[in-house]
Subunit: 356 residues, 2 copies
């Protein structure tokens, strides 16, 4: 049985749900894939808990459920912070799930840098590092070798960063390998879907926003969703990783949903369609992709016109694969956790490990 | 530049379209992936053409377009047949695209066996070998090592065998890795979709079948589609590869579309839904999957209720990823060709090759 020493940074919804999943079904990976994760370090906003023999996961879950920090745990280490945890202790795998910060990507960016620079594998749910520093992280990881399994650089994966379990990156990169992507349309922000849906049936913007907050799906700062930054960030990651076009946020034409009128919504609705915030990459004749985030009217027959409440999706048009559509209806953070775990499974042959 | 010596068996729609694609865009793989395929042998029903320095692909395409066999070519080799081509010549990669034969899987089965037994990589579009001999082929290939990139066995890929470019196998296996699949519903037979669609708007079965034949999407023997064998074959492959349940055709409860009545179709239609031939895998409490192919009424809000004409799709329900939906609208055999090429790209690091 291979055992991978693992550190987990971020104990919000995603990190905590990940631990719950590992506890609830500790045999899942052992039986099917022949490995297990030994969580030896975790970090939240109060600091780091660390035990090289493996942490008490139920105790951590309990402490988070009671809205306490890891500093109340006997394994709390006042001499460690998330970044020097990644820089100094002995581990095989980093799971990074701190809240996305699109200003400077921290602390996730420094955490991931530290891991990759030491040759440690990294699996990200957080978007900040990828949006702000994709080229740097690619150069430090197996992305520099086009994900060759024989790369001497450590594996970097982030399939959960662009729509959770929705396999945007994986399908774009692997299932459309060999195809030339002409256009991609992503509906990957739940907040704006809910708001626009509410507005289409009569609510005004403020009421609709309050509903999305009540549902717990809105980022702490609603403007990230409403003004299109979250969708743009995901598009930036997609453009870098799948389209191989070096891209930052400034390359995206962003228009959020604040200007969408009740009349436009009613018109779309009565025609059997809807308005969604669509992140779009459109290939030009010179091979460059023009990137935009725009409230877009989807006709009744558009593949994404009938996404269910909370469902995310994308459509990719390519020269040889025609029209490829994916959608994902997930249960809160669980889908993102599944994405992180599939990434771990994907790279399992490449992780150094302690046998036994 | 890595050059992979390649043999292609089958020059029907898929084989010919594959050659056209390679000729039309010979730089596609070289530029993006750093390799090229040198087609050194091809086989059709008239025999084999072979040239270790690389065949004249435009000449082969032309001969197929004129409905001639490779026996008219100067590179025709009367001493070779498809099976001993796979058994004797020096190559790195087999592309197998002979017509699917669900009775005995031949000649594809012997061709693939020969390749794998010699340690050659094999990419299949044909379903027969996988439906009839999955366990044997898995044991001969990297499937025995759970697709580890470090397997000493040769790679075997067949992502195009279950819906062409629709990434059924890839998503089931990789993007849902770590998730427990509860239920999968596949709509992967175009013929029955077209027939049922025509019948829903008033045509009788015979007229509808004639329409599907006119569109060129029906197998030479329509009963394979109409009686559910094609869908069942794809489900068998899915069950073996993704669900890891040893399965043969006899394990599938098959009901074709011959008994579907105009009344049932009208009722589904007026409720905003439709009837499709659904191949279904349903997990039981003991962990086994019950497999069936059945004409199924899809409600208006079913993810596959609105597939476009010619569009294939599937829905997978799992414990951690929720509901995952994929669909693919492809241009004839081109999607299957793209699937074969993505498989080649997937295994490219593992192919022995002649440098230069």
């Amino acid at each position: 049985m291979d055992t991978f020493k693992t550190i987990l940074t971020g104990l919000g919804n995603i990190g905590r749900t990940l631990l719950e999943l590992l506890v609830a079904d500790s045999e899942r990976f052992a039986l099917r894939y022949g490995f297990q994760l030994r969580i030896i370090g975790v970090a939240d906003s109060t600091g780091v808990a660390f035990d090289p023999d493996g942490l008490d996961l139920p105790a951590i879950i309990d402490c988070k459920r009671r809205r306490l920090g890891v500093r109340v745990l006997p394994t709390f280490r006042s001499d460690l912070d998330p970044i020097n945890l990644a820089r100094t202790v002995d581990y095989d795998l980093l799971l990074e799930a701190t809240p996305t910060n699109l200003r400077d990507g921290q602390p996730a960016l420094d955490i991931v840098r530290a891991a990759l620079q030491r040759g440690k594998a990294a699996v990200l749910a957080s978007k900040g590092p990828l949006v702000l520093a994709f080229a740097e992280l690619a150069a430090l990881s197996d992305w520099a070798d086009d994900l060759s399994p024989y790369s001497v650089r450590p594996p970097l994966r982030f399939s959960g960063a662009v729509g959770g379990a929705l396999p945007t990156i994986n399908v774009g990169l692997r299932d459309l390998a060999g195809a030339r992507i002409e256009r991609a349309e992503l509906v990957v922000n739940s907040t704006t879907q809910v708001i626009l849906e509410q507005m289409a049936i009569g609510a005004d913007f403020s009421t609709a926003l309050a509903e999305a907050q009540r549902q717990g799906i809105v980022e702490p700062d609603p403007s990230l969703d409403v003004d299109g930054w979250d969708a743009a960030g995901k598009l930036v990651i997609f453009a870098n990783a799948v389209l191989r076009q070096p891209t930052t946020l400034t390359d995206v034409n962003i228009r959020g949903i604040r200007e969408v009128t009740a009349e436009e919504l009613a018109a779309a609705w009565s025609a059997g369609g809807r308005i969604s915030l669509v992140a779009c990459a459109d290939r030009q004749t010179d091979g460059r992709y023009v990137l935009s985030v725009t409230p877009t009217r989807l006709a009744a027959d558009h593949p994404l016109a009938r996404l269910s409440r909370g469902e995310m999706g994308l459509v990719i048009y390519s020269d040889t694969a025609g029209r490829s559509t994916l959608s994902s209806l997930e249960d809160g953070p669980l889908g993102t956790c599944q994405a992180m775990l599939r990434d771990v499974i994907d790279i399992r042959h490449r992780l150094r490990c302690a046998k036994g």
